[in-house]
Symmetry: C2
Subunit: 119 residues, 2 copies
DNA sequence: CTCTTGTATAAGCTACTGCTAATATGATAG
DNA sequence: CTATCATATTAGCAGTAGCTTATACAAGAG
């Protein structure tokens, strides 16, 4: 209802205080938000950091001990990171090894750089 | 109870399936999480994108119309972005103009690059 | 001063997030 | 086969996030 053309006798226009804005690409937004919300949680962030610090993949059992939540919580967190494209996983015997993706590497590096640049 | 040293006659050791992990810097973690959780929300992400698309600052009134939530919600969102160091704000008359910080620019650019690199 | 416009803050409510405990699946050993 | 270990899934609950409405504050116009 708001935003319809003004058809009555007034001379006033719908005046905005500055300029209208471009729209935001909603596909990009959905993708980015999935990544950001996946990283934006203590447990998952710490898991990502630990996975990234290791050289050749980390198995769930080690992560579990490190982050201080239940095995179930770690598994759920890792699934979410996987769905968001932040880690890959491979099976080896009965263990599962997780490794960071390029997305994770790039974002953590950007975050590191940003912290480094404030003197 | 689990994790106590094995003091009975068995020769087995507390065997972990792979290697212990480095710790995560907790200051870095706190800073990064503030940024990630601030960006990781539909409203705030869209606000950031719109603020970044504009050239010389955006005032609250325009943003309000664009993102489809109440004026109050926009104000709260912008406050949080400001606290997280993702936008600057300046007053001009009775309007307040918001502009992206370097952090915002760098992260959005990284996200754009990452989306671009999957063919 | 009052009135209006732009923005911020407060209070309250709903919905979702992330955990735990319990259970299921899957692989290996015996 | 059964037993055990590593991981995943389900169910349910507590805490918090993010919205709306209402109200307060700040600045300019008259």
């Amino acid at each position: 209802m708001i935003g319809d053309a003004i058809t009555d006798g007034t001379t006033e226009e719908t005046e905005t205080c500055c300029t209208p804005l471009e729209d935001v690409d909603s596909d990009a937004m959905a993708t980015d938000l999935q990544v950001l919300t996946a990283m934006g949680n203590d447990t998952r962030y710490e898991l990502l950091r630990r996975i990234s610090n290791a050289d050749d993949g980390v198995c769930v059992c080690d992560l579990e001990a490190a982050v201080g939540v239940s095995q179930s919580a770690v598994s759920q967190a890792l699934s979410r990171l996987y769905t968001a494209g932040l880690v890959t996983r491979r099976k080896e015997g009965s263990w599962r090894y997780y490794e960071p993706t390029e997305t994770t590497a790039a974002l953590l590096e950007t975050l590191d750089d940003l912290r480094g640049s404030h003197e």
